[in-house]
Symmetry: C2
Subunit: 254 residues, 2 copies
Amino acid sequence: MDYTEQIISFHNFIADECIPGVSLDCAIFGFHDTRLKVLLLRWKDTSEWCLPGGFIYKTESVDRAAERVLYERTGLDKLFLQQFHLFGDAVRYDREEMWRRQKMPMSFSERWPERTLSVGYYALVDHTQVTPTPDFMTDECRWWDISDLPSLLYDHRQIVTVALQTLRSQLNWQPIGLNLMAEKFTIPELQRLYEAVLDKPLDARNFHKKIMGLHILTRLDERRTGKAHKSPFLYRFDRENYQKALGNGNLSFV
Amino acid sequence: MDYTEQIISFHNFIADECIPGVSLDCAIFGFHDTRLKVLLLRWKDTSEWCLPGGFIYKTESVDRAAERVLYERTGLDKLFLQQFHLFGDAVRYDREEMWRRQKMPMSFSERWPERTLSVGYYALVDHTQVTPTPDFMTDECRWWDISDLPSLLYDHRQIVTVALQTLRSQLNWQPIGLNLMAEKFTIPELQRLYEAVLDKPLDARNFHKKIMGLHILTRLDERRTGKAHKSPFLYRFDRENYQKALGNGNLSFV
DNA sequence: ACAAAAGTGTTACAACTACACCCATGG
DNA sequence: CCATGGGTGTAGTTGTAACACTTTTGT
């Protein structure tokens, strides 16, 4: 099956099985080399990047569709995943241009709505667990530093911006940052994450107090070694205590 | 034109002119008699209530559609209006039951998607400016106390709940409560509003300090008279200062 | 004159900010 | 032994919460 056959069959599948006119885009955030990253796909034979996205089956919930899309792209499930906005501008992109880029026969456009809304989700993932993999429509899938994004298709730049705003505002009120860390991590590593998300330096002593004050980290009898300085302790996110604290109202989910 | 003709023609119009499978519901909040209220419609010949809602024209933005729906229902425009969630459960309501209630011929259902998503907006309005008016599908339109809601159709109870949560969480971070007041109001009246939204009593002295500390209220040379006690001063929301404060970062829009 | 709500200031406590030195490790 | 980053406490400030009495007004 060549590319054209493949993409026509794909679009036929969507037109048959999915809710028309509504797509779903995920800003998948990871953290690596002291920088906050987002996962992007490069469209086949172009230098244009976009967010991983998909469509909603007629019989599944929108949240379920988001989990599915994320799973298809990263192989991960049960991640922190949150709907943050429905993007519904009257013109979100140039339909004909999109059609050309996808090398779709124009005749096919009868089966395709003139306009799509897109519901934005953001996900926080431990990048060590992810193997970014392109699909048949894309040549490349990789992490991009959020302060150095390439040219993005459609309104995906705006979607990333709004996702980031949401992430920033939530970081202050709930310890969602922990979803971005590997299983074991050090306090300074976590601080680097907060600094990357908030885009400002934080005071190590105050950060330590604040994070420890949440009582949701367990210090392990293990240290991160191999660096030319004092080895920091490793910690683990204590999900049990976290749930307990949520129940007590000690942690606020705004 | 009788009811059946009318509703068929209405649904034909929607099927022709609107985005299929996506509706829009507004939780319109007002404040009256020291209670927070929401505007509801009663379905023709039933005792079931629902939120005012509508559909999105194929060529208009979703935000614009929300403004339009709000205008059609309240006659008001340029209100505080904010999207808060896309409701996308796989089954949000019983389609056949809805069909029966609307007295639609079942045959018509070919033109109607099996399932609709709904994007929720909430609005804050000065109830003195609103004349609630039912449309041809509804017998009655009136304010309901949020702590004493009637039986609601579809998942509208959930939509109101999420709207309220959003409103509560935003009230703490931005002075949106002012959108619910008439042009001139007293500090104690505003306090009653905050108490109604947050559902807890507040201390008058602390409230006064906090609200005045925002520097966005102007005290008028006028008092509210006619009650058997000391007449309170009237204040006006100073939108100019408000914009200035927003620019300075003194007020935070999360 | 009485009932009802308005108006107002101080103190205690909690949360956040700023700030500097010694220690452990690998090279 | 040196460069690098980890680990830690205190004091000042800011914001929030608790608290009671006097004034005004209409009846």
